[in-house]
């Protein structure tokens, strides 16, 4: 019994750690895509964030400066995306792709030139990483069954960015349902003409949305290299940007289902790590690759309407051009 609880807690802990950057990136895309700007450049922005966070944290010893650099770099890329797609009405998919490839080259190039460690940054010492938050009362609660271990293993000593992510989820829900900004954001993704004729600037709203996307992907990147990891390694994001995109679609472009999808994808990853080579009843050993591809297969099935139906914001992917 105690053993089962221990395994469950380990799985939950791993799920939360893996889910955090996914949630950050998926919610980043939520803002941009609900405003009508498709963003497949999450991967690149996260990678840029990861690199600049680690590079600055390594040079200055201050992880917060690293976080700031990550956000700045990622927002800069988001502005490039906005410049191409909003100002110049360029193809949003092409722009996202360009950013991904650009950063996939740029991050190791700069890392190579600056640190001479084969495209990595040096290993970060503890104080150059984003801190975990130690909560009081672990000892006091440890006697209580269930709550005690849950508190100790799962909630205590969580990284500051995990808490920030929790805050982000709640805030996003509030923004989308209760705030003026959320109303306008949702409107501009469904019918930009309605927003324009209501006396609001489509361009401004969409820029605001992509900037938020940049901030959040930057934080996601910083989490990878200065919170979860201890330094930048090449191809650090390893497809997490695309996985976040899949989670957003799987969550039908809504905050709570998107959060659920991120947790689900992270959970399959946690299970997959634990299941390597372990035979299951009936099916035997499941090759780990099959579990790894599950999120992608699920997304394909969902998009094809075999499991539910995901309908994108109506104006997403379409540059806004005034009618004559």
């Amino acid at each position: 019994m105690g053993d089962a609880l221990h395994v469950a807690l380990l799985l939950a802990d791993a799920t939360v750690r893996v889910a955090t950057p996914l949630v950050l990136a998926a919610f980043a895309a939520l803002y941009s895509e609900r405003a009508g700007v498709v963003d497949i450049g999450l991967e690149g922005k996260m990678l840029a964030g990861a690199f600049f966070a680690a590079a600055v944290a390594s040079s200055t010893g201050n992880p917060w400066l690293g976080l700031g650099a990550a956000v700045a770099a990622s927002v800069a890329l988001a502005l490039v995306h906005g410049f191409a797609c909003i100002t110049h009405k360029g193809n949003q998919v092409v722009s996202g792709m360009a950013i991904n490839i650009l950063v996939a080259g740029l991050a190791p190039t700069l890392a190579y030139a600056w640190f001479r460690q084969g495209g990595q940054t040096p290993l970060l010492p503890g104080e150059a990483r984003l801190p975990q938050i130690h909560l009081p009362g672990v000892e006091a609660l440890s006697g209580i069954p269930l709550l005690g271990p849950v508190y100790r293993e799962l909630i205590d000593d969580a990284n500051v960015l995990i808490w920030l992510t929790v805050l982000l989820v709640v805030a996003t829900h509030w923004v989308f349902t209760r705030s003026r900004f959320g109303l306008r954001l949702r409107a501009v993704g469904e019918n930009p003409s309605a927003v324009d004729t209501a006396g609001l600037s489509v361009t401004r709203l969409r820029y605001q949305a992509v900037i938020i996307t940049g901030v959040l992907t930057g934080i996601a990147g910083a989490y990878l290299s200065t919170a979860h990891g201890a330094g930048f390694v090449r191809d650090m994001t390893a497809g997490k940007g695309y996985l976040a995109l899949a989670a957003l679609i799987f969550g039908k472009w809504r905050p709570w289902p998107t959060l659920f999808a991120c947790l689900l994808f992270a959970f399959t990853d946690a299970v997959q790590v634990r299941l390597q080579g372990v035979p299951l009843p009936v099916v035997g050993v499941i090759p780990v690759q099959f579990i790894q591809m599950l999120p992608y297969v699920l997304t394909v099935l969902l998009l094809a309407g075999f499991v539910g139906r995901a309908v994108a914001p109506r104006a997403s992917g379409v540059p806004y051009v005034k009618e004559r």
Partner: protein
């Protein structure tokens, strides 16, 4: 006669010498008009006369290339809809500017939220909207998503949006095009109520009947220019029509009486659903004989478009039968397709040539074989015969006087009339037994209209059957040998063109009178 009597106080809205270019198209030429306060003002003109453009400029949706706008006698700088709303100008666009998944309340609130959070504004808006609804007869369920509302109710939401933002001047662009007669009456009652409360209303339309029924004054536009400002009471439909078109309107095509032959197309019980699953054609039966033109009249949106596309094989049938030269087609599904019907000698000039009849990025010669690209005349075993293609297109361009006569020029580079000629040449030169024609002269200049009409009559005189759909009553009356009237997905009556006066047709199109 040419000027509106000057009221004591300055006009609620005035434009002076407004100009607007779209590329090479001079859409507005020194447009000056004045709308007295507390009146309903009509702006009338043909398609492309520039009436929507001038109102878009007034609303700040399009920037002007010169000229000035005055509200209550004071010059105002309207650079965006926000500026327009700030000086009390509201607009109901032809295509509604609504967010479908949003509730009515959310739509009204958008851009006028009254705070960073929504709750307070929502409560305020709800109270205000209930008051507006009571005062002007603008009833609508505030908590329904607008996408679920009928168009008439959606339009009321648009009016509410403008009033909630404090509009004193309300501009409506072609507001009745999508409305049923009942909804139109409802709208007119609302507009009169607005006038009684001292609001100023501008209505853009190309329908003479509405101008005569509703407005106090009318501005007539033609080719981007204002050609007259008159008091409605001192003018007549005939005079307005002449002003709109620029000459005596005698849309009469020289043609001999028809000598109908055997039935070519026989349709019975035809039903068609649109993409959303709504039944748009609700059991239509008709016959077209060789050597006659049968015209279908009706207000746009009553199922004519769907009927025509279904008969051309572009839409699946939900029921009914179609016989061509006595042969049942619907029993064999692979023949009742766009490709199959073409092979059986059915030509189709679609309503929207830019989006359906042509591929604007293609060369003219490629457009000239659209739908016939599998024809052996243009194909070897594997490769197409570019020479044959070029020659065919050049020949058609000669026959139909298409300018410039350059088969390699992209279709987008031709004018509307010449594009239409390319389509007509393609469909008519293949000698179809049955020609389906939708809006053959929409957006076409007057010279080309006469040419197209003569061609259609000539085809009839060769003994071909022609089914014509047009929302231009004059065109229907000038060309048709028999007129069928369509309303709400059904044919509600048949009239001979010489007994089809506008009043009677109008009543039938509105669904209020059956043919005698």
């Amino acid at each position: 006669m040419k000027t509106t009597p000057m009221p004591q106080h300055p006009p609620a809205l005035e434009t002076r010498g407004v100009n607007k270019w779209f590329g090479a198209n001079h859409a507005n030429r020194d447009v000056s008009l004045a709308v007295p306060k507390g009146t309903i003002h009509g702006v009338i003109g043909e398609n492309g006369a520039g009436k929507s453009t001038i109102m878009s400029i007034v609303y700040g949706y399009q920037p002007a290339d010169g000229g000035s706008i005055l509200v209550d006698g004071r010059p105002v700088a309207v650079r965006s809809p926000r500026d327009a709303l700030a000086v009390g100008i509201g607009m109901v666009h032809q295509h509604f500017m609504l967010v479908d998944p949003f509730t009515v309340l959310e739509n009204v609130l958008l851009g006028a939220e009254g705070g960073v959070t929504l709750a307070a504004g929502m409560a305020r808006a709800r109270a205000e909207l209930i008051r507006l609804a009571r005062d002007y007869g603008l009833e609508v369920d505030l908590d329904r998503p607008v996408g679920e509302l009928p168009v008439g109710a959606q339009q009321r939401v648009e009016i509410l949006k403008a009033l909630y933002r404090g509009a004193d001047i309300l501009i409506l662009d072609e507001p009745t095009g999508v409305l049923t007669p009942q909804e139109t009456d409802h709208l007119f009652r609302i507009l009169r109520a607005l006038r009684e409360q001292g609001k100023t209303v501008v209505i853009i339309t190309h329908k003479l009947r509405e101008i005569m029924e509703l407005t106090d004054n009318v501005t007539v536009m033609r080719r981007g220019q204002v050609v007259a400002n008159v008091a409605t009471a001192r003018t007549s439909r005939e005079q307005l029509a002449e002003l709109m078109v620029g000459r005596k309107v005698l849309l009469r095509v020289e043609k001999a009486p028809a000598t109908p032959g055997p039935a070519v197309l026989e349709v019975a019980g035809l039903r068609v659903r649109d993409g959303a699953g709504v039944e748009r054609v609700k059991g239509v039966g008709l016959t077209v004989h060789a050597g006659e033109i049968v015209g279908i009249a009706g207000v746009s949106g009553n199922g004519q478009s769907e009927l025509l596309e279904a008969l051309a094989g572009m839409r699946p049938l939900a029921g009914g039968s179609v016989r061509l030269r006595g042969e049942e087609l619907t029993a064999t599904p692979d023949r009742f397709t766009a490709r199959g019907l073409r092979a059986l000698g059915v030509g189709h000039v679609p309503e929207d040539r830019q989006r359906v009849g042509l591929v604007t990025g293609f060369e003219a010669q490629e457009c000239a074989i659209l739908g016939h690209h599998g024809d052996p005349a243009f194909n070897g075993r594997l490769l197409m015969d570019r020479r044959a293609l070029f020659d065919r297109c050049a020949a058609e361009m000669d026959a139909y006087d298409v300018r410039p006569r350059d088969p390699r020029l992209p279709a987008a580079n031709f004018s509307g009339g010449n594009q239409q000629k390319i389509v007509l040449a393609r469909e008519m030169e293949r000698n179809p037994d049955l020609l389906l024609v939708g809006q053959p002269t929409r957006g076409v200049d007057i010279g080309a209209i006469e040419f197209i009409h003569r061609r259609l009559v000539a085809l009839r005189d060769q003994g071909k059957a022609i089914l014509l759909v047009s929302v231009e009553l004059d065109e229907i009356r000038a060309l048709s040998d028999r007129i069928l009237v369509m309303f709400d997905g059904r044919l509600v009556g048949e009239v001979a063109p010489d007994e089809a006066d506008e009043r009677r047709l109008g009543l039938m199109m509105a669904g209020v009178a059956e043919a005698a």
